[in-house]
């Protein structure tokens, strides 16, 4: 194994993080700066590893469902939909139609809540705290609606493998419609406050640019990709739940401003457009809500027994507010717990976009650029670095040698 030397930066080196007031979660930026300009940027993740997958592989699938929900405090339903879709594929459970619709409705309400939360955080990072209070005050309405529908403000516990646990009954429709009307008004107000404001324009226009070509190379997901003009959305590309039945389009900033610049301002535009889109989707879904059962297997004990008997592997995906989330699950027959569980949170794909966004910008732009991809760091961290100062490159030949050695070791063990 070849140990490579970590090159010392040529200018003045500074670092921000892992714990810093400008960052909401622990991540470290190492920057090579010249005056106020950032010449080279790099980041070190891995500061908030929680070992969620390890815990999930020691619990049965129903328990892991609730653990998956707790990977993220904001997109709770995202991870539970992805996990349940993976398990449903393995066990070949057909989710009832009504459950598909309810999943999508809660998913879209969550998108509204997440984007409004982000708008508040972004305003706060700009030092525009009155817009932060406005966004979060508006957000309370959707939190109340989610509490009314699912029983809690966060961690909705509404998804079950093979369906949903709670129904949305016609008595609840007026309350939902009332909220949707409120959000139409709120969208107009927020769009004016964020997009027409001179301060926001000065700070966000042409700041933290990710060009379409860079985006194509780095493969970001969700609003980060769409703000750079990449048309990609799991809901449109690979429709799941009830998204195949509704009219839904890629929300790129040119729909509102007529051009794609890929800067922080475009990311605000994209998210605001998605709030408006979600209002439309919820209305369409409510109008078409089909009748039928909520769960494919209503008895949890029967479900557990079925899952114990199946084997296989599958991938479940969902378009979270931040982009595509992917869960890989492998089940083995005779075991209650998943044999393997791998979670790819959306921010994992968006991290690399930070580097081209930051290079060439000023130190004062770091908070808003870091926040502009809506990073969810504890959701993403899958590895903890024990010795971050030692960097190694393992070549293909080296890996092959290690593999051969391991085979020989196992063979020697078997021969005994």
């Amino acid at each position: 194994m070849k140990t490579i030397e970590v090159k010392k930066p040529s200018g003045y080196a500074t670092q921000i993080g892992p714990a810093h007031p400008a960052l909401k979660e622990p991540v470290m930026f190492s920057l090579d700066i010249e005056g106020e300009r950032i010449r080279k940027a790099d980041f070190v993740p891995g500061m908030a590893h929680r070992g969620v997958e390890w815990m999930g592989m020691r619990r049965n699938c129903i328990q892991t469902m609730y653990l998956a929900e707790r990977i993220c405090g904001i997109c709770g339903i995202t991870h539970s939909i992805s996990f349940s879709r993976a398990v449903e594929q393995i066990a070949q459970i057909q989710v009832p139609n009504r459950a598909h619709y309810i999943r999508s409705i809660v998913g879209e309400l969550e998108r509204i809540h997440s984007h409004l939360l982000w708008a508040g955080v972004a305003a706060h990072e700009l030092g525009f705290d009155s817009a932060f209070y406005l966004a979060w005050r508006v957000r309370e309405n959707v939190m109340d609606l989610l509490e009314y529908l699912t029983g809690n403000r966060v961690h909705y516990a509404i998804i079950q493998i093979g369906g949903v646990r709670r129904d949305i009954v016609p008595d609840q429709f007026p309350r939902i419609e009332e909220s949707m009307k409120f959000f139409e008004g709120a969208y107009a107000k927020l769009a004016a406050v964020f997009l027409d404001d001179t301060t926001v324009q000065m700070r966000c226009r042409d700041c933290g640019v990710l060009t379409t070509d860079e985006a194509r190379e780095l493969c970001p997901v969700g609003p980060t990709a769409r703000a750079s003009g990449i048309k990609k959305d799991v809901r449109v590309d690979h429709p799941y739940a009830a998204y195949g039945d509704v009219e839904i389009e890629y929300q790129t900033p040119d729909l509102l401003t007529g051009e794609v610049r890929g800067d922080v301002y475009d990311r605000i535009v994209t998210r605001l457009l998605e709030v408006k889109q979600s209002i439309g989707i919820v209305r369409q879904l409510l109008a078409m809500l089909p009748d039928g059962p909520l769960l494919a297997i209503p008895k949890p004990a029967v479900l557990l027994a079925k899952l114990k008997g199946v084997a296989g592997e599958a991938v479940g995906r969902h378009e979270a507010p931040r982009g595509e989330v992917m869960h890989y699950v492998r089940l083995e027959a005779g075991k209650d717990e998943p044999a393997a569980w791998k979670v790819k949170a959306s921010s994992y794909s968006n991290y690399m976009a930070w580097i081209p966004m930051m290079e060439g910008e000023q130190i004062a732009d770091i908070p808003i650029i870091a926040a502009s991809i809506d990073p969810c760091i504890s959701c993403t961290d899958r590895v903890a670095l024990v010795r971050p100062d030692v960097r190694q490159i393992v070549t293909k030949e080296e890996l092959h040698r290690l593999s051969v050695e391991k085979t020989r070791r196992i063979q020697a063990g078997l021969a005994k």
Binding site: L134, G151, N152, R165, D196, T199, P300, A301
Partner: protein
């Protein structure tokens, strides 16, 4: 120059605060002092925002109908339920419970339910009101 936030801010000056001041409209010098006064009937609490009908709050447990089948222990994601071998009954630690309500669905005798109670804060996680048995 355009500042669309300004009319919104000026309008807010004449509106009531959006938050519900709980438990008191003004921060009391000491919270325990306030609670003592409430106990004596000298002061009153500002009530919390009403909760929705189907809120997932603190667990309730009907000890009489429980048959000790241990199914709830099997699905509890937080390992918040303890089985007492001697009496064949369970005990729920509210401080550990995540209020998902999965146990209420698997219980064959429907002796578990979620109530609307949400004020579960305490200094002691094993306090009497935080252990349901």
């Amino acid at each position: 120059m355009s500042f669309p936030m300004v009319p919104e801010l000026l309008g807010s000056l004449f509106k009531k605060p959006n938050t519900n001041p709980f438990p008191a409209a003004q921060l009391p010098p000491t919270v325990t002092g306030l609670l003592e006064k409430v106990g004596k009937g000298e002061a009153s609490l500002n009530p919390p925002v009403p909760v929705p009908e189907k809120l997932r709050g603190k667990m309730t447990y009907n000890r009489e109908t429980c048959i000790g089948c241990k199914l709830c222990l099997k699905v509890c994601p937080a390992h918040a339920i303890d089985f007492i071998e001697g009496t064949k009954k369970i005990r729920i630690f509210v401080s550990q419970c995540i209020q998902c309500g999965q146990c209420t669905e698997i219980c064959p005798k429907q002796c578990l339910a979620l109530s609307g109670e949400f004020l579960n804060a305490s200094h002691d996680r094993y306090a009497d009101e935080l252990v349901v048995d």
